[in-house]
Each structure stands twice: as C-alpha cells, then as structure tokens.
C-alpha cells in the first residue's frame, strides 16, 4: 500500500523526536543560566526553532519535495559529499547514543545502583534497532502510540498546582544568571530533533500542509516546556531550582495516591518512550545518510554495524558529568547542523535554479 505520513503523525513525530532527556534538567538550566523567570527564555528559543523550521520548509518548497540527498547529489561531487555524509552520520549517531546513555545512567542512579548500566543500554539499543529496521512508517506509528501512552502525564502537573505560588516567580526578569550564551545553547538543545524532519520529504503526503504540521509539533513542545518551566519556577522558585539536580524528578516524587506513592521511577520509565523516539529518529537519520554512501548494503546490516560501533563508544563516558559534557558538545554541533544543512540546501537549490534558467 502507498502509505504516507499524515500531518498529525508528522507533528507527533517531530514533537516526539524533540522531547527527550533534557526535560529533566531544563528547569534547572533555565534558573541557573538566566536566573529569575528564566522560563521566559523558552519563548525566543521557540521562535528561533520556528525560524529554522521555516528554512526547512523553504527547502521543501524550492526542491518540490525532493529528497535532500537527491538535491545535494545533483550538484555536489561525491568525493566532497561522502565525507560530509560521514560527518552527519557520526554526529547524529553519537548524539543519539549519548542521550540514550544519559537516560540509562539516570535510571541506574534512581533504582538500580548495582546493575551495570551497559546492560540497560544494550536493551535500549535493541529496542531502537527493532524500530529502525522496520522503517520510517513503523517509527511514525510507534511515535503516535507512545505519544498517547505518555500524553496523560501532563495531567500530573495538575497535582502540584495547589502548591504553585505566583510570589515565587518574583517580578524580576532574568536576574541572577551567568554565561547566558552558553545557557542559550544548552536550552536550545532541548528543542533539537525537528531538524531530522528534513529527511522525511519523500515519505510525507504532499497534498497536505506538512510544513505547518512540523511547526505545530514544535509549538506543542514549546507550550509544554513553557508549562513545565512556569510550574517549576512557581513551585520551587529560581534559587531553589539552582540547587536541584533533576527538578522534574522531584516534582514526580511529590505525587502521592492513597495506594501508591514515590511514582518517580515508574513514571521515569514512561519517559523512556520519549527518549527512545528521540534516539531512534537521530539514528534513523544517520542510517539513512550512511545508506547513501553504501547503497548496496542492507539497511539492517548497516543499522546493526552503526549501532554496534556507537554501543562500543558509549562505554567511554562513565559518569553523568562526562556524559553531560559530551551532550553539550555534540548538541552544539547538532545545532550547527540544524541551521547549516537547510542553509546549504537552499544555496544549492538556488544555484540549481539559476543554472536551469540560464541553461533553458
């Protein structure tokens, strides 16, 4: 059957590939770098990511929905292109890998201090492998299922609302922060993930408003981040947030029911679905890119080899601090790719159009 990704599913896919491990530390990062009412910084980040998506939609329009690989391969010679593809593959594979490793390390810290985290990582990678080898349509279906399985968790914020106090927000805006450029990069990392949608052009339904769907996914993410930011600043205040390692876990641990309490490790488990989708989308993008270099190699084999390599590398960072350093380093490169790739493609497309005009 000629299946195409529909707008709702694309929006969900984009949202799911954006929301990930950063959500646990986001309120602290906001408070730490930007001080009082740091959550406001999410608004310019939202606008910036919206602009980046606009660049992606320009590529879609100028290229008439062609695959980005086709666009590049038409104009750029392969000896130049292949190292670029390899770079993209490496960045996306490693970024996905460290996100997965951080999730696993956090879980180990929460519930299984004596278990080797690489065992969990192996299980996590097997799940990701299962999804990647089944293709983008299955990934998109899984994203939609996981979206509904996790969507109800926002209602949990209602539980802590009685403890929300406007006073804690203070009337001051962005006071008490430091190194705001670094902070901005770090916060912007929470929005990353939408850039993979640039690879989805051949798989989406051209008749529908797909670019609006990507924007909608990003907007939904931003609204939920702003909600989370606002609620955490209103519950903890910016000074207390600076002291908390993982404010979201503290919020979750606060929830109690008559028959069950300390839900954070069960709910943390549910976050696996979100992290898994983020990682899967990066890895899917990487496998697609690597597939252009070795088109004859079966995707399953390619995915297996790439995953095995990154699994090997993921033994290197051992502590959460090390992982954080890797994440922020790779996150900065990924941000560069998120802006650079569409700009490069637009340039290539404009040159192609010019060539066509002068040729015709």
């Amino acid at each position: 059957m000629n299946e195409k990704i529909r707008p709702f599913n694309l929006a969900v896919l984009v949202y799911m590939s954006q929301v990930g491990i950063v959500v646990f530390t986001l309120p602290r990062t906001l408070a730490d770098y930007f001080g009082t009412n740091g959550w406001l910084i999410l608004i310019p980040c939202f606008l910036l990511s919206g602009f980046n998506i606009y660049l992606i939609s320009l590529v879609y329009k100028l290229g008439n929905g062609r695959s980005v690989f086709e666009i590049m391969e038409q104009s750029i010679p392969k000896p130049l292109l292949y190292p670029f593809y390899m770079g993209l593959t490496a960045v996306w594979m490693m970024f996905g890998c460290v996100i997965g490793k951080k999730y696993v390390l956090l879980f180990q810290m929460l519930a299984f201090p004596t278990t080797n985290p690489m065992l969990f990582k192996l299980m996590f990678d097997i799940l990701a492998f299962m999804l990647i080898t089944k293709g983008i349509y299955t990934i998109s279906r899984a994203a939609t299922m996981f979206f509904w399985i996790t969507a109800w968790m926002y209602l949990l914020l209602l539980w802590v609302l009685p403890d929300f106090n406007w006073v804690r927000l203070t009337p001051f805006i962005l006071q008490g922060g430091h190194n705001q450029f670094k902070g901005l990069l770090e916060v912007y990392g929470a929005f990353l993930g939408y850039e993979i949608s640039i690879l989805l052009f051949p798989y989406i339904d051209r008749r529908k408003k797909m670019m609006a769907a990507i924007q909608a996914g990003n907007a939904y993410l931003s609204v939920s981040y702003i909600n989370l930011g606002l609620v955490s600043f209103g519950i903890f205040s910016s000074d207390q947030l600076k002291q908390l390692l993982y404010p979201l876990l503290d919020i979750l641990a606060y929830i109690q029911f008559p028959f069950v309490e300390r839900l954070e490790n069960l709910l943390y488990g549910f976050f696996m679905f979100l992290v898994l989708m983020t990682v899967v989308m990066y890895w899917w993008g990487a496998v697609e890119t690597a597939g252009r270099i070795v088109p004859r190699l079966k995707r399953q084999v390619l995915a297996f080899v790439l995953l095995a390599i990154t699994y090997g590398i993921s033994f290197l960072p051992k502590t959460i601090d090390e992982i954080d350093a890797w994440i922020s380093f790779l996150g900065n490169i990924t941000t560069g790719v998120a802006f650079g790739l569409p700009v490069l493609l637009i340039t290539v497309l404009l040159i192609q159009k010019k060539g066509e005009k002068s040729g015709g």
Binding site: N9, A111, F112, T115, S140, A142, M145, E261, Y268, G269
Partner: protein
Amino acid sequence: MAEQHERLSLEHILHEFEDCADLTRRNFPEIGADIVYFSHTVDNLLLINQVLDPLSALQRKKELEQLLRESQFVRVTDSKTAVTGILEGGVAVFAADTVHLIDVYGPEARSVSESETESIIAGPHDAFVESATTNISLIRRRIRSSHLKVIHCSVGEISKTDVYILYIKDIANLAYVQDLQQRIERIETDAINDGGMLSQYLEDKQTSVFPQFLTTERPDVSSSKLVSGKILVLIDNSPTSISAPASFFEFFSSSDDYYERWVLGTALRLVRYVALIITLTFTALYVAVTTFHYEMIPEALLLTLAESRNRVPFPPVYEALLMEFTIELLREAGARLPTKVGQTIGIVGGIVIGQAAVQAGLTSNILIISVASSAIASFVIPNYLMSASLRVIRFGIIILAGIWGNMGLVIAIAVIVIHLCSLSSLGASYLVPVAPMRGRDWKDVFIRAPFSLLLTRPTQNRTPNPIRQKNRK
C-alpha cells in the same frame, strides 16, 4: 479423445472409488442405467424426488434420454469432473455411453444454535454452524441486497474445502477483495479445517502472537462488518467466519455495545481497555514493586503486604509465575472437561489457590488478588483469540518485571507496542485509528457514541462509500 471417453466409464469411476465402502451404486436394468453417489452427502428427499422416482418410473431407454435432457442433469465428459461431482454431493447417472451429474447435495448438519464462545446478553443469539451454505443463508437473511456478492474458492490439495468470500459491492474496497482472493488461491496445503486455521494462512505476519483478522461465530457481527465495508470469509465445515481488514482495537468491541444504550456501551468499552491494562501489567507491577520498589507502597499498605509476604520463601517473580501457571492449568482443564466435571475443577481450584496456597505459605494473599484480577480481566476481552494472546504475553512481562522492575515493565510495553506497530492486516495498519491517527473513528472505537454521531464507515476499510448515515438529527 477416445482415451478420455474410455476412461469415463462406470468401471473407471468404480475403480477410482475402490475400497470406498460408503459409495452407493444402484442399477436400473429396464433402462440400462446405473447411478453412483455417496448417501451421506445427498439430501434423501431430493434424491427420491429427482432421481430415484423418475428413473423407476421409466420403462424404455428412449424415455431415459428424454429425462436426461432436462436442465438439472449436466452432461460430463471427463472423469475428473465426474469424481469431483460425486464427492460434492452429486449423483452420477451412467446410461448407455453418456454420463450425467445431478446435484442433490444436502449433508447432515447441526441446526443453528447459540454460540458458546461468544455469548452476549442483549441481541440475537443465533450462531454460525458447520455448513457454509447455512451460514451464507444466515447472512443473506440479514442483508437482503443483490449487492452482497459471494466468490467461491476452494482450499486444500486433498480436502478441497469450499471457501466463500463475501463482500458488498460499492461498499467494500475491491483491492482488498482481490488481495484476499489471491491469498486464498495461493494457499498450498493438504487441508484446512477451521476458519481460525485459514485466517493464519492469510495473515500478513504469521509469526506474530496477535490475531490479525477478526474471527467470529456470530452472524449479526459478521453482517455488521460487511455493511461497514469489510470482507468476510466463510469456510465450509467451520462455524468461524473471518472479517478483514481488522484493527487491534476492534477486538475490544462486542455486538452488545450497539444493542444497549450508548452510555452503557461506552462504559463497557472503557472497562475492556482498563481490563487490557490490568491483565497485562497488574501482576507484573506487583512483582516489580515487591522485588525492587518497596518505596512505592504507602506505609499503611506496606505493613499488610509485608505481613502477607513474610512466610513466602520465594522471590515474588517465582511466586507470581507459579500462580499464573496454576490459573492457566485450571482454565485449560476447565475448557476441556464437560460442564458438570468442569464445576469440580472450579471448586478444587478455588480452594487450592484461594486458601490452601496461602496457608501453606507458598504465596501471599495480595498476589492471589492480583493474579485473580489479571485472569478475570483477561476474560473481559470479548474475543477469545485476543484474550489468549494477551495471557501468553503476560508471562513475558512478569519475567521482565522480575529482572528489571519497573524498567522491565516499561521495556516489555515498548516491545509490544513496537511489534504492534509493525503489524498490518491486508496491508492496512493494525493500529488504526490511533496510528496512523484517524480522529473521526475514535467515537466508535474507544467509546460507542450515540448513533446520530456514527455517520461514517471506519476509514481502515477504505470504502468507496464512506457515508453510513445521512440524516443528522
């Protein structure tokens, strides 16, 4: 040609059916005719009225020739057709050098009765029987339309079982009909004995644990599926019909939902989805919590739980697997035994796992509650095949929860979801209307909205005529 003519003789047919003691042969010496048939596949009344009486009344060969010219007698020239005709309930009439077949098919069949596996409270109680023609008549009685089409195929290299594909023209998607027909024709096996078996041959992924087509014994369900644009497959000698394409969520609706008020129907559907969650996760959650996450239990409950578990010498995962296995044993034993003996199993099982196991210190009270609720919840799911699949999967979830606690539970859910996402039914997603999202269908999947809102047919069926009901009130 000469060889073929020679082969189609009475001797040849008798040779073909050599050692078939159930074959009946009768001779009419006055007119030089012989008839051959299987007495158990023919309708006796028809046989007397259409064959025996007319032939006995004849005196001369010429009259026989005249009789055989009537349209119910079909001339056959090759032996294969004659053999198949006899096997399919025909009578072969051998006269001089010609052979004719007359169809008087009418085997013994169970009369239409209630379904034992899919009982409902409100609504029609009749169920399919083992005769496909009777089953088609039950459908035709409900859908009196010339648009209801029936395609005949046969499966089984040896059994040559009749299979019928039913669909409503202009409502069903013909691409699905063709696909299904091709899949049926491609089957090469000795024999297929039941609809449940046939559906496994037709599925997109035969290795999956989940049934990918909906099977039912109820004619009212089958005809409502047909009207919604699905395709129905009936196989002779089986009361099970297959409807395709199917979605995972379809297995959680029952025909009562439509016969009762919408509020009740909606409540029941929600109860079934809660049952799905309970049957899959409740015991596993118990294992996860009592093995790794004691902190999740509030203090008041913790004391009761600790007291209940203090005599149990096994880790929770063994305890849970032991009890789940016992329940499965009881269920299987109860299903195999006659109803009267089955009651004994219920009582023995109730005492053994309810009381004695706890007193003997083999298991805790709370586990019994959780295992029993999981078992009860699994029986709430209306489709037997789906509920059986879920019960099997549950063991895997319990084991994973025993190894990695809550994380194991979540990993198990992820594996199930990923597997479900990769399934399709006749090429259409198995998770419609959730993935891909079809919001319009939700009002007849997760709830049962009032009929005034159920205006369209399900999108999964890709029907050319999606409007079901025009008048909005």
